[in-house]
Symmetry: none
Subunit: 530 residues, 2 copies
């Protein structure tokens, strides 16, 4: 099939339309991290945001030069110029030009009623605005994709006008026309007919499809559009988006590729799908979705003994595709055997040369399963996992010190004054006990400072290490303030970054664990290098 | 349209297939409550469970006589008789007969490979078993629906056999043939063709469709089946189910009725959809889904100032259907992308009758913008916003007490021992200072307990209030353990839920703010009611 399979371009708008989802918030730093992962996944276009519309997107584009994308092209999104301005004095278009993005996505109205009722301008004027905006950006050296907002609603109510809008954009130099189901309520047959009409009216230009999920049909609508001739698929990696979300590339790409004979990613890239989806949610401090097709934690889970033995005999009897193809795992909810292959892979990576039937593998899997039940998550904390494995399988020294105890006091004297935090810690290194104290900005920071102060006397290498991210998540299943929490810490020494984890009902104890692992990992790696 | 609209029967399997979802657990008592709500909603059939397969389903059917259903018919689910038994000595069929359900759903294999590889019997024997089981239940006075498991996979691989299975069930007296996409991976065109083939091969019998969502296509597949002639739609109310879930009746019924010209519920019943979906999740102790089509809390939410003022003018420009039709609400989200229109709408909802050009609106917007820059997020903390607005615009009393100060101590004595947490707080109520202390499971919990202890003496109403969710988010932009954190708290008094927020570099101070607001809001609402 590869070679002959028609190619579909993936256009990811997680960083722009995705952040319209209620509760899905990414900082500029998060957005840069997500962009790097989307690039690694292999999407063709990354829509980074709307420069000039808000400070977050502004900062993202200011720093986008850091990205050095290998697979994807960066896109800046914006609207056509304001009706009372011309392209060359429109602040929106100026912000687009200032962004270091080779492609700009220009959105314009294609439903006549929106033009008259919302913009309050003549229909003809809207066509002029679109043509002038597209031409201006083209002349400035940008590739232009035209997003036809509310296209399918417009087509159903005023077909001639909706097509005239597309024609204006195409004639002004737009390279792709993106047909948007902005309100998300279309049925697959409507989309199919609509795309067919455009393909007949404007042959030769690339058509894109941008669906929302208000009728739970965004995936089906996108697939219908591709069958009708669309070659660019827009969506978010995980389906986040305004209201009920955008089309989910994680549901669409595997179906296009594994069932419909199209190509959008290499086989290796497709295997990164699950990790990428989870990474993005992690950045927004949200747990992985359970029930998402292909990439959810429950997507390939099996219940019941008979069922499981049948799956073991022939998974194809019970699974629509093999989970490995999208980088997910089969899970057995009663007797969890998952993760074995992944663990063997990791052990090899870390230099442990073990037979697959070594009894310690089973012990290790049992321990990991138990710890994951307690709330430890090693996906974002591989350094903690490597330390644990090293400890159990008798590798190189990795413990270095004992964290003996701490005491943290946090006091607020009045409503007006900020609180003060003080931590004392006791650690033991090579038989020597160190007992020290530090103040901090908040109790976690006080604890962090005290631990480093106590250890830096013994390990000067720690001065090169900084903490770059700190995340707290309340674990589900337990309600309220007595719930268990998981702390994820990310550290850096300028050359590499590593993640560690701690879990406790006490946020300070969880931090203590994660900070301890973080420091141990630095020492472990430093000794390996030396 | 009504009168001529073809009728589609809704068959709800929330109580059977829905409970296969990971983490979705219903007690027999819960199941009875859910059945009553489904009956009120107006579904045609309620599949109550698999009697004899587990104690919960057993107890549900023992007590099902209490139900007195008005709209729906109760269905008991079970498999055809065991290959080594006859119908009259099969415990599974005996359990079905013992259940007070007029209809039984009998499931049998229709994919030949499953018959030989999993059951390990001859293909012909499977046909005998199906025919004998259906006939036996019919003779015992039951209506029988035959569930053809793995039908679409079987049809694709061994068409003759899959159709022979259906024929055996139909000839033995099955009233409906339910075509199942058990592995959930079919595409709409496959479903469409499959249903068409069955309708041609077995004209006159009712066809049902039972889809799973492994390809994110359960809704589209179900709609495709209806268009191809299926008249019974199976699914769960909310889409819960094994792996990625079952077809979601909440997404399907409104589309069938509002967009495709079929009838399944009365207009009044359709308006109960949102409440029913939320009730069911509430029974399983799960929050309402945010992003579910039609019934999610975000399904009709709008962000952005321009957008909101346009929605106010003509909602049809921005909504695929009117939320009232399915009993949902339009919501305006306040966010850093939004503005004046959203705030004005909120103020009106809260009873502040202000002119749009009142200078206090501008002040309020400036303050909100500044607070959002600091990290406060009011989307999930409307109670904090209502308190703030009320304070600034001089509404009813809402302050009630001063939080004067706290001191929290958290100490860990050794690696082996869990830490201990103690909090002391000082609060002032009507000039009286209360100074008290509490231990807790972690420092946040200790603080929470101490605050409640100090205030409950003055406000006994607080005993009815519980904390149902606690979330911590480290705000990016500031790295490491000295970063600012946002705490979101969700509280409940059994009748309603409300969210509050606190922000600080100190997780305890942020919690202190959010807990204080949470308690104030409860008192504020209690006084309004009284």
């Amino acid at each position: 099939m590869p070679g002959n399979a028609p190619v579909i371009e993936l256009y990811d708008t997680t960083l722009r339309d995705g952040t319209q989802a209620e509760g899905f918030v990414l900082t500029p730093e998060d957005k840069l991290k997500v962009a790097r992962q989307l690039d690694r996944l292999g999407v063709d276009y990354i829509e980074g945001g709307w420069p000039g519309s808000n400070p977050r997107d502004q900062e993202f584009f200011e720093r986008a030069g850091e990205l050095q994308l290998e697979n994807a092209v960066l896109v800046a999104f914006g609207s056509t110029h304001h009706a009372k301005r011309t392209p060359d004095n429109d602040p929106n278009l100026a912000a687009l030009l200032a962004a270091p993005a080779p492609v700009c996505a220009l959105v314009g109205k294609s439903w006549s009623k929106h033009v008259t009722a919302q913009l309050g301008i003549e229909l003809e004027r809207n066509l002029e605005i679109i043509a002038a905006s597209v031409a201006y950006m083209k002349e400035a050296g940008r590739r232009v994709f035209f997003d036809a907002e509310h296209f399918f609603d417009g087509l159903a109510r005023d077909e001639d006008y909706a097509l005239a809008v597309l024609k204006a954009a195409a004639e002004a130099g737009a390279e792709a026309l993106v047909l948007c189901d902005t309100n998300g309520g279309s049925l697959p047959s409507w989309i199919s007919q609509g795309v067919g009409k455009v393909a007949a009216a404007l042959p030769g230009i690339t058509l894109g499809i941008h669906c929302h999920n208000d009728g739970d049909l965004a995936t089906a609508n996108t697939l219908a559009a591709v069958e009708a001739g669309a070659r660019q698929v827009q969506g978010t990696t995980g389906g986040m988006g305004e209201r009920c979300g955008n089309a989910d590339l994680c549901a669409i790409a595997p179906t296009l590729q594994l069932k419909m004979g199209y190509t959008c990613l290499s086989e290796d890239q497709l295997r990164r799908l699950t990790d990428t989806a989870r990474f993005i949610r992690e950045q927004a401090n949200q747990p992985p979705t359970s029930f998402s097709p292909y990439v959810g934690t429950s997507a390939f889970s099996h219940k019941g003994g008979l069922h499981i033995s049948a799956v073991e005999k022939d998974p194809a009897l019970y699974e629509h595709v093999s989970p490995e193809l999208v980088g997910n795992n089969r899970r057995y909810l009663l007797s969890d055997l998952a993760g074995r292959a992944a663990l063997l892979k990791k052990l090899a990576d870390w230099g442990f040369d073990m037979a697959p039937d070594d009894h310690r593998i089973k012990q290790m899997l049992d321990e990991l399963k138990e710890r994951e039940n307690e709330g430890y998550a090693y996906e974002a904390a591989e350094a903690s996992l490597e330390l644990l494995v090293n400890r159990r399988l008798g590798g190189r020294p990795s413990h270095f010190f004992d964290l003996m105890g701490f005491r943290v006091a946090d006091y607020k004297e009045s409503e007006a004054k900020p609180p003060s935090s003080e931590a004392t810690v006791r650690v033991k290194v090579e038989g020597v006990e160190e007992h020290t104290a530090a103040m901090g900005d908040g109790p976690v920071n006080a604890l962090d400072r005290a631990i480093r102060k106590a250890l830096s006397r013994f390990y000067p290498a720690l001065s090169a290490m900084t903490l770059v991210d700190y995340k707290v998540r309340v674990l589900a299943g337990s309600a309220g303030t007595e719930a268990r929490v998981r702390v994820l810490v990310e550290s850096s020494d300028g050359e590499s970054r590593w993640g560690t984890v701690g879990v406790s009902f006490d946020v300070l104890e969880a931090s203590w664990q994660a900070l301890g692992d973080s420091i141990r990992y630095k020492l472990f790696k430093t000794l390996q290098g030396g």
